[in-house]
Symmetry: C2
Amino acid sequence: MFKIRLLVSALTLASSISVASAWEALPTEAPAPADNATTADKIALGQMLYHDPRLSSTGTVSCSSCHNTMLGGEDNRPNSMGVNGQTGGRSAPTVWNSAFNTVQFWDGRAASLEAQAAGPVTNPIEMGMKSWDDVVARLKTIEGYTHSFELAFGKDSISKENTTKAIAAYERTLITPHSAFDRYVSGDKAALSAQQVRGMEKVAELGCTSCHSGPAFNGPGVFQKFPAIPNGYFEAQYHFSKDKGLAEVTKKADDEHMWKVPTLRNIALTAPYFHNGSVKTLDQAVNMMAKLQLGKDLNKEEIADIVAFLNGLTGEFPKQKMPVLPGTPGSTFN
Amino acid sequence: MFKIRLLVSALTLASSISVASAWEALPTEAPAPADNATTADKIALGQMLYHDPRLSSTGTVSCSSCHNTMLGGEDNRPNSMGVNGQTGGRSAPTVWNSAFNTVQFWDGRAASLEAQAAGPVTNPIEMGMKSWDDVVARLKTIEGYTHSFELAFGKDSISKENTTKAIAAYERTLITPHSAFDRYVSGDKAALSAQQVRGMEKVAELGCTSCHSGPAFNGPGVFQKFPAIPNGYFEAQYHFSKDKGLAEVTKKADDEHMWKVPTLRNIALTAPYFHNGSVKTLDQAVNMMAKLQLGKDLNKEEIADIVAFLNGLTGEFPKQKMPVLPGTPGSTFN
């Protein structure tokens, strides 16, 4: 947990100083870690694995089932539905632009996309595989994967590490640039409406940007406490504090209710909101964020302006080929 | 049921005469009904609808969840898993080349792809929508669909009829030509191995082709009784007769255990086998078909030859674009 603690400290520092709003367009490429350079063969393999329901115990749930690459990168549900119709307590974060998160999962417990990709596959209520050994054994029965892994990683390379590396390499291509906001900050002043510009200015003025700034609106810090300001009225309805966030993993009092600051990119498409998906509309979410994080009351016009601005963060979804998954002659589930 | 009864009579006739094996390559285009000409706009809309989980009550199950267009057109499960992890009693038939079926569903109760597409959406254990009115109402909330339906069918055209027409138009493009068998019958005598050719000859000699002939190996008749020859040993293990097939719909004694003759195209990819998905391997399925339909015992070599031939029926899957589904700002499920 050393790295995460450092990041939390960095956040504490960042949130205690005034942050200038330097609006930044989304990069069209994401940096890759030193040990997992992005290559075309890894992307192609990763796209197959990401969409392959055979990575789940029942053969019915792929990464894309909950983080849907044909939609806003998630499932518009409060909680995702894993194998055998099971649901958990958290809402699926969007996969779009997740390459620009410093940490992954709502509680930030994974330090990389590679580490994240390892989690859901063996989570009993998500993809339900008993172990990664079972996943690797199954992948080895699918002849076409032997060839695709070989292209990406060399001979006899089907492993947990390479599976998660390929998925992460693919996810690094899931970037949605050229939103109205991006076009605006790149000089096209007609890209945002007057209302959207008012909303943008309000976002900076209120201080939303002390946590939600940078190209993905998820920095400069990494973690933040939510709710920052206790509110019995909202708590009674939405139970935000029932889930202790990072502390569920670290068991440390300091980490209670600490959450990864999520991106605001494509947020209009990712209802319902918050870690438990308890809030159905963006209007409500904006109102609550002002109240719970900044101690401010917004009027209807302010909320409408901010929501208009947030709608301007919906990006362009890249054109993708539908993967043809390698067949498994004779393979069955259950 | 008038049309279906006629088809059953046609089958009875066909199976009583000797059928010459005129091996036929798969057409690369499927005919469309007079009232649903295949157009590019319908195909594009149909592809979106086919892959859209918002056609299910939970937002988790699309047509493609069980009839997977990235795989062999189904899910390799004995029974598919619908909303909330529910399963039924029948195995998902492949969507590939379903355009060449005279009737649809295992029991052939739908006379067209259009009629078939209407079924699973409101089946409580499949996609679970309460009614088609609800489906249409939901589609109308998705702004992008208004435009796509307009392109395909004209203004204000979101309806059950047009939804199923678009899905059917898309499905008519899901054809897998150029299998080793197709190349062989088109003149490339090296496309099938000596063993595969032996298997092909055995298939004709045994009489498999009296039901499984034509370009999709699912004619000349439409329905057939299964099991045709009672067999207590197999019945005790696989419970084939528990499901009465067409009679479950028509309630007529004559229709008991009558089933649509399924295509053999891509059969190597669609395990497990039979209407209830109870048989895991193609070897077993071939052995049982000989015994239960033809009253013949095959030896290991004959089975291996036939299975080798059936593997030669795996076609080329068309390259498709991944659809970008129209977003629903603010929409949530549950």
